[in-house]
Symmetry: C2
Subunit: 331 residues, 2 copies
């Protein structure tokens, strides 16, 4: 079977040369574990951080070993009491056509009306990220003006739609005019393309009275502009900074930061979704409702074929994806 | 009587030319008001912000009009029911030898064992700032490593001593070696002079395992270094940025800010003491106790004479003060 390994550590933006496709033996099934034939892989910006050889909240990938990410597959053999052959399981898997993982690390997906891969997106980690960031970190309240950057991405698209569903006024930014049109179809009150308009100019015109909450997926100029537009006692939620994940030099911070944060009594807070698994149940319940009543429309960009995994991942940094970027293993 | 007005708006660091000394009529006493002969004025870094013609949390001073700040004086005549001749009152006063203010805006100071001017410092606004910043914004807990910048100043000196009194390990920075020696006399566990050692180098050596709370009075390089040293789930309290108050160009933000704030789930929060007057009572009670039992030693730098007000104020930005900078009106 095939496996994709980290061939070399990327310097700056990852390239195809950083990845290697290997033929390896199918792993052996041992006690307590299950053998899974992979159907879906999630590619996520945070994986870029794990490709650097630096200590972070997750350990780095090793050179020559499989990369791993969220995935879904079907159980072809099980030596775990919890899980049986034929189950669809969600977990963290090596980039291989088959993987063996402990039964205890996997979630058996219910047979439901939603496609399984939603559990890698709107009903999965990106969905919980949007939910926790907006409500728990951002203290979002009905009637607030929310600005979300990278709004056409997996998390941003959900942040905006949830905030709309809960009575917010939502402004989004995206990297292309086509994405901006899509944001308006999804119900965003306003949206702009940051390739054509700076966040500073956009916020001055779209939110002349300021914003109440900034949900940051981008960092850089976006954060600087948002800090200047935030109203007194408001919040910037730092979730991602896709522009800086492949930085090779120190990334400048937002100018005039301290003065603005003090005089407006701002709170700027970072978070990581894995600290918030206690919110999983209420999130799934609410998100399922929003999906079924149409309040949240799920956008996906599906790339076909196992060997496309590196290309799909690299595409995240070019903004190739509308909504959640997924790889279907067998097309 | 004499009055000190804002002659022109400072560009960068204020100079003597920005201030004017005028002879004016003593103000007339009208109903509800009291006439106060001034004894003490507080000079504070935040006044620099009010000298710019920009909207902030307090309106700017007008050109040709009296500057005003915290002060203490003795009531020489009263048309307020609340206040009687001879009372010592604390309030916000124009820089004049006499001022008339509404009785309702003044606090009558108790006759006590502490010098009256403590109510402009350790028992006043700077004290409450230290208290609220450490406990309410910073969520300080016993056993934590606290780093406070500008630690020999009015607020910083109290932050460090309170944190020590409550079981913290305290590191302070100051602008001269003499101040560093004073911090050690005050019980700081470690201190460094940022004129001789960068905050980054200092924290690497004094707090190799990181810090739990950063109390920022300085901004700039200090904030950047602190962000890198903060441990996961910890807090940076932004209270002041004396280095940037007279900036004439955009002040660069802390480099690599977003990545650190997200991966370490940091909270960075600004505050202004005037939002926290509900904490006044518990603060006064605790601080009085710390002063009387010696846990907090009050440092003051007293400049003599009404006409020295501009020079005392300008001296704040040269770091002339150890502890609270005060002007005694009549020497």
């Amino acid at each position: 079977m095939r496996s994709i390994v980290l061939e070399s550590r990327p310097y700056g933006i990852p390239t195809a040369e950083n990845f290697g496709l290997r033929e390896i033996e199918r792993p052996e099934l041992t006690d307590g574990n299950v053998l899974v034939r992979m159907e879906w892989f999630s590619v996520d910006p945070y994986l870029r951080g794990r490709m650097n050889d630096v200590k972070s909240y997750v350990p780095p990938f090793a050179i020559g070993e499989s990369i791993s990410s969220g995935g879904i597959g079907v159980v072809v053999a099980s030596k775990s009491e919890r899980i049986k052959e034929g189950d669809r399981v969600l977990g963290h898997f090596r980039w291989q056509e088959f993987d063996v993982q402990p039964g205890g690390s996997l979630t058996v997906l219910p047979v439901s009306e939603v496609p399984y891969q939603y559990y890698l997106g709107a009903l999965g980690m990106p969905g919980l990220t949007a939910y926790v960031g907006l409500f728990d970190i951002g203290s979002f309240q009905e009637g607030q003006v929310v600005f979300v950057s990278g709004a056409a991405g997996a998390v941003g698209s959900l942040v905006g739609q949830i905030a709309k569903a809960k009575g917010g006024y939502v402004i989004g930014s995206a990297g292309t005019e086509a994405k901006v049109r899509r944001l308006k179809e999804l119900g965003f009150d306003a949206a702009f393309c940051y390739a054509n308009l700076s966040p500073r100019q956009a916020l001055d015109s779209l939110a002349p009275d300021g914003i109440d909450l900034y949900f940051d997926n981008v960092g850089g100029e976006h954060l600087e502009a948002a800090i200047q537009s935030l109203r007194p006692f408001s919040v910037a939620v730092l979730c991602g900074s896709i522009a800086s994940y492949h930085a090779t030099e120190p990334v400048p911070g937002p100018a005039n930061f301290t003065g603005a944060v003090i005089s407006k009594r701002l709170r700027v807070q970072g978070f990581i979704v894995s600290d918030h698994s206690d919110r999983q149940d209420s999130f799934r319940l609410e998100m399922s409702k929003w999906i079924s009543n149409g309040a949240v429309v799920v956008d996906e960009t599906i790339v076909e074929g196992f060997s496309s995994l590196p290309e799909a991942f690299i595409g995240l940094f070019r903004g190739d994806n509308l909504g959640k970027m997924l790889v279907r293993v067998e097309s």
